[in-house]
């Protein structure tokens, strides 16, 4: 015979395998429990008339157990499918549990509410786009890193890039790049046009002059300074002298200066500026210079 009190006594004071003791209280792991707490009124084993709601694949079922079937565990729980509509489900619960204790009915309705809410949340969440984390076996990760290292060594990237850039330079992709030596510059021009050869020889002469230029630079320093100093006062005298003294070499110097001015931007800007002044002073060779630059382009 079913005696709920005896059952409860034994379960509570000796051992119940569904009971889980946590810091905050005792919980019941029995799937048929309405509230989930280990209680005299919530224990499905210690109540011969009991009902729950359980969820199967998103559909809620009302499970009921009565004392008349207590001797047939196989047919103990009676199941009623509940509609997805919350209000209709409530009506059905009311209909089936009409003469049952109010406390239990209340608990069941609370459970139904909670379950509908979390069903809605689950559906929303599954529709949301979430990132799926895929794991890669360590063996593959290591293999990839090894292969990458070897590929890096085989690639010799810097050499390849340098070669590629030089190729592009030789092809003439860079029309206005401005930081390589004029001799290479000339070589490139040679490859395209032969006219430049004559001018190259003149260039050679200019090189010869270059040494003098360096010596004269030191003189120029003083002269220039004087020039600046005197510009404030007198304009013509000293500049005229400069012209007379250094006319011959300056002509060619100027030519060279005009060519190298745009190229050697990085080193010795002071020098460049001085040459600049020279260019302004000498007007004769401007046309040639202009021509030359056109050829360059």
């Amino acid at each position: 015979m079913q005696n709920d009190d005896v059952i409860w006594d034994i379960i509570r004071h000796h051992h119940c395998s569904y009971m889980a003791k946590i810091q905050t209280g005792n919980f019941c792991r029995n799937p048929y429990n309405v509230t989930g707490i280990c209680n005299r009124s919530s224990c499905p084993l210690a109540n011969s008339r009991y009902a729950t709601i359980r969820d199967h694949d998103g559909i809620f079922y009302l499970y009921m157990k009565t004392i008349e079937r207590a001797h047939m565990p196989n047919k103990l729980w009676e199941r009623v499918k509940l509609p997805k509509n919350y209000m209709k489900a409530l009506e059905i619960i009311d209909k089936h549990l009409e003469y049952w204790p109010k406390l239990l009915v209340h608990k069941i309705k609370q459970r139904l509410t909670k379950m509908t809410q979390y069903r809605i949340r689950m559906v929303k969440l599954s529709k949301k786009v979430r990132e799926k984390i895929m794991t890669v076996p360590r063996k593959e990760v290591k293999r990839e890193s090894r292969r990458e290292e070897k590929a890096l060594r085989a690639a010799q990237i810097e050499n390849v890039i340098e070669k590629e850039l030089l190729e592009r330079l030789n092809k003439g992709v860079y029309p206005d790049i401005c930081n390589y030596d004029e001799e290479i510059f000339n070589k490139l021009l040679d490859k395209n046009k032969e006219e430049e050869q004559e001018e190259e020889e003149e260039e050679a002469e200019v090189e010869y002059v270059e040494g003098d230029y360096e010596l004269e630079e030191e003189l120029e320093d003083d002269i220039e300074d004087m020039g600046d100093f005197l510009k404030a006062n007198n304009f013509d005298d000293i500049e005229g002298d400069e012209d007379d003294l250094e006319e011959q070499p300056t002509r060619k110097k100027v030519k060279k200066a005009s060519v190298s001015y745009p190229l050697k931007q990085d080193d010795g800007t002071e020098k460049v500026r001085r040459k600049d002044k020279k260019v302004i002073v000498e007007v004769e060779r401007d046309e040639d210079i202009g021509n030359r630059q056109h050829n360059v382009m």
Partner: protein
């Protein structure tokens, strides 16, 4: 040793015909003791060292002989013997029928009709949107900052919690040409998603070996000139497509005065990214150094142009994981190429 002697005796007794052969074999059997079989460590290491030395000497002899032969052949005016080419993985790569040939009409037609042709033909200027995954941390923002300096006309938008498909729509409305999504995993940028717009292909790359600018020694600072692009080794059809996709991120008119070069170098399916500033210089190379004894041709200086690089900007490697036909849609999209574990079985097979 005793056993061997017995065997010898037995063989001697047995056959007369094979006698000579066996005789030859016998001394070999006696001598062949591997260095690894000696139990005494000192003796073993001594024997092994001797063995190595012998091998090295032999190798050097071979090399010398080869060099002498080639030199002699040169002097005599004959053809030098063929230089031996070392076998590399690139040499022995499995034959791939999708390798692009220079005279492939179909390829050019395909290029005209593909999604990048608008940008590559300079009809539209590239405009890039950079964003991250939902949880961005640590090196992510630094990497993105550097990316912004590398790619001209790129903008960074915070991710928020928007779905990627919504971001794609938003970008389309604002007329971007591509989206880059930097994905972080375990506080390190892990993957790069390159989405072309509109309905461009989506390329998913795995990012590794990221080195930020501040961690590079003697790094340079990039300017804002349009960079030059160098795309190396994109040989197959797939590689060509990926190359064009990368090309469509950058403006097609580089400013050579800026002397900035961005390189994507493909080696064995790993795409290495480098960002340099370059300078051309003249290097004096003395010719005829080898003929010191010959009095002619001394002090002959030949000037060569070389390019010098200064690295600036980040350095990382990419590996293509998948290429999908439309914009980002992992569930319903059509994948042109997906990396499967099956593809790693052969060491000589590459796809890009």
């Amino acid at each position: 040793m005793a056993k061997e002697k017995k065997r010898k005796a037995a063989e001697e007794a047995v056959d007369g015909d094979d006698y000579i052969e066996r005789e030859d074999k016998k001394p070999k059997k006696q001598k062949l003791i591997l260095a690894s079989q000696i139990k005494n460590k000192e003796k073993r290491s001594a024997v092994y060292a001797k063995l190595k030395h012998e091998k090295r000497v032999e190798k050097r002899k071979k090399i010398k002989a080869r060099d002498a032969a080639s030199k002699q052949a040169l002097e005599l005016g004959e053809e030098p013997p063929e230089k031996m080419v070392p076998r590399t993985i690139e040499n022995t790569r499995e034959l791939d029928e999708t390798v692009c040939r220079p005279d492939d009409e179909e390829l050019f037609a395909g290029n005209d009709a593909d999604e990048f042709s608008a940008v590559l033909k300079q009809q539209t200027a590239p405009k890039v949107l950079i964003t991250t995954c939902r949880f961005n941390s640590s090196r992510g923002p630094a990497f993105i900052k550097e990316l912004l300096s590398v790619i001209p006309n790129a903008q960074y938008y915070k991710r928020g919690t928007y779905e990627l498909k919504k971001i794609v729509e938003y970008a389309k409305n604002k007329e971007f040409t591509s989206i880059i999504v930097v994905h972080t995993n375990r506080r390190e940028p892990d993957a790069l998603l390159l989405i072309g717009l509109p309905d461009g292909p989506t390329a998913h790359f795995r990012l590794s070996n990221l080195v930020l600018r501040k961690d590079i020694k003697n790094h340079g600072n990039p300017t804002s000139h349009e960079p030059e692009l160098v795309l190396n080794n994109f040989t197959t059809r797939l590689g060509h497509r990926v190359g064009r996709m990368i090309q469509s991120l950058f403006p097609q008119v580089p400013n050579f005065r800026g002397r900035r070069v961005v390189t994507f170098h493909n080696q064995r399916d790993f795409i290495f990214f480098r960002h340099h500033r370059y300078v051309f210089e003249v290097k004096e190379k003395k010719e005829g150094l080898k003929d010191k004894k010959s009095k002619a041709s001394q002090g002959k200086t030949e000037k060569k142009a070389i390019a010098r690089l200064q690295e600036c900007g980040p350095r990382f490697t990419l590996k293509l994981v998948s290429l999908q036909h439309g914009t980002f849609d992992t569930k319903g999209g059509e994948f042109e190429w997906v990396h499967k574990a099956d593809m790693d079985t052969s060491r000589r097979r590459f796809f890009i």
